[in-house]
């Protein structure tokens, strides 16, 4: 059976819909089905990240798009995980990954949660080494300079807000 839409490719998906109490059945090929927003298991499996983000509904697709396939970055210098690992598994490797992939994650978090800044309870670690990893004003000002130099104004605005918060 050929696809009802393009009439060229073999129909692989049989879409039954109820619209205004009338049942309609369409026979579509994978390409045309995908264009209509119908995703088969096969097409979902090709984008593992969309699997876990897909559960977030329409926001999920936007979040997946926040990590374009071409986006790359050096591996996390603590655990060695890469952005590709994250894309494959939907899970980061370690807490330090949030530092290693900050720009990507900031965008991703904003897409998922509508915000990238934690406003809940602040936590003070009993471990002094960990506490010392919190950025101080000098480090943030340096980061702000680097961001402005690199014309990354989105990051610069974020860092500026952080500095204001700390001040």
């Amino acid at each position: 059976m050929l696809c009802d839409q393009c009439g060229e490719r073999e129909a692989a998906i049989h879409l039954t819909q109820i619209v205004n109490n009338a049942v309609t059945t369409q026979h579509l090929c994978e390409t045309c089905a995908s264009e209509k927003g119908v995703h088969t298991e096969a097409s979902v499996a090709k984008h593992p990240l969309s699997g876990f983000l897909g559960s977030l509904g329409s926001m999920g697709k936007g979040a997946a798009a926040a990590l374009p396939p071409t986006a790359e970055s050096t591996p996390c210098d603590f655990c060695g995980a890469t952005l590709q690992d994250f894309r494959d598994t939907g899970r980061l490797g370690c807490p330090h990954c949030y530092e290693s992939f900050t720009p990507h994650l900031r965008t991703l978090l904003r897409r998922i949660h509508g915000a990238s800044r934690h406003v809940g309870h602040a936590y003070l670690s009993p471990d002094r080494d960990a506490a010392e990893q919190a950025p101080d004003l000098d480090a943030l000002r340096a980061q702000l300079r680097r961001a402005v130099d690199a014309e990354n104004f989105e990051l610069a605005a974020e860092v500026r807000d952080q500095i204001r918060g700390l001040e």
């Binding site: 807490p95 330090h96 990238s116 809940g120 952080q162």
Partner: protein, 370 residues
Amino acid sequence: MTLDLSLIPDGGVSWLDASGPDGNIVLSTRVRLARNIQGRPFAGRAEREELDDIRARTIEAGRSTSALEGAVDFRLDHLDRLERQLLHERHLVSKELAGLEREQGPRHAASLLTGGMLGMMVNEEDHLRLQTLCSGFALESAYAPLARFDQELGGLLPFAFHPEFGYLTACPTNAGTGLRASVLIHLPGLVLTKEIAKVLQGLAQVGLTFRGLYGEGSEVVGNFFQLSNQTTLGKSEEELLDHLGKIVRQVIEYEEQAREVLQQNAPNVIADKVWRAYGLLRYARTLSFDETMNLLSGVRLGVGLNLIDDLSVYTLNKLLIFTQPAHLARRAERALSDPDPPAIRAAFVRRVLEEDAARPPFPGSGDPQP
């Protein structure tokens, strides 16, 4: 290792007693916090030795808190499948921790430290998932002890926390507060009046999500829905709980309105549905799990509408938990794969209902109209 559930206070299911607010419509309230140890790879990327170390440190710290002093711990990777599923059916562990969907079973050193109502999952996708489970619609009662436990534990273990992103989690969907609160709610009125689709759509628009009886990835059976917050970052813990609470309160009101409409417009149809469900549960000789859930939903509606007045919600809650596959198999000392459960399930349901209701075989009272 054999699982001895009697070691857990109330078997971990004290919430079944339906003593909480709105216990007829809301079965339980669960709040969980995702936490990780600073300077350690997340569980999915950790070596066996690291997972052992995380287990040792966190269980020791957990037992040092006032909430879980002397609590019992289970290693999921040392339990057989039936035992792991049993813990999952009691909502004490997630599917992920129980390794029910992983070919290789649970993760090495996957553990549960539990004091019954409050517990701590170790080596889930995050190092720690702290959770409380309460009867009825009780977000504050569920969160308050959890927040105290979190604070005490956070003083003993260095949690991974970032000043901008908050608590760091393996999946960015949990970052920030790490808080997911969910309310298990029974909505037969909205399903029968076909209003449910609108309500569920509305939930998505206000940043909430719904799942089935067993949380993520589970189907809706028996008109039981888990409503929970979708996002965890950008709002404080209190704001997240407050928002969920307000919306759930509205959903409860919609459900009550729907039940009123049903009773006004189609009392005989509803009474018939309720009593048919009761009749099948009381007399059927085989019952599948899904059918049992749907019939329990009908009977629960009948109790809520005062059509059935001598059956307790507690009994219905007990049936909900104890007719699940692993619970049934354990009770009958059979393997999970045994083909007999439908008959065993029906016999068990009959016995519980007979004992609880002491009802004459052909009830003549309770009809809303002649």
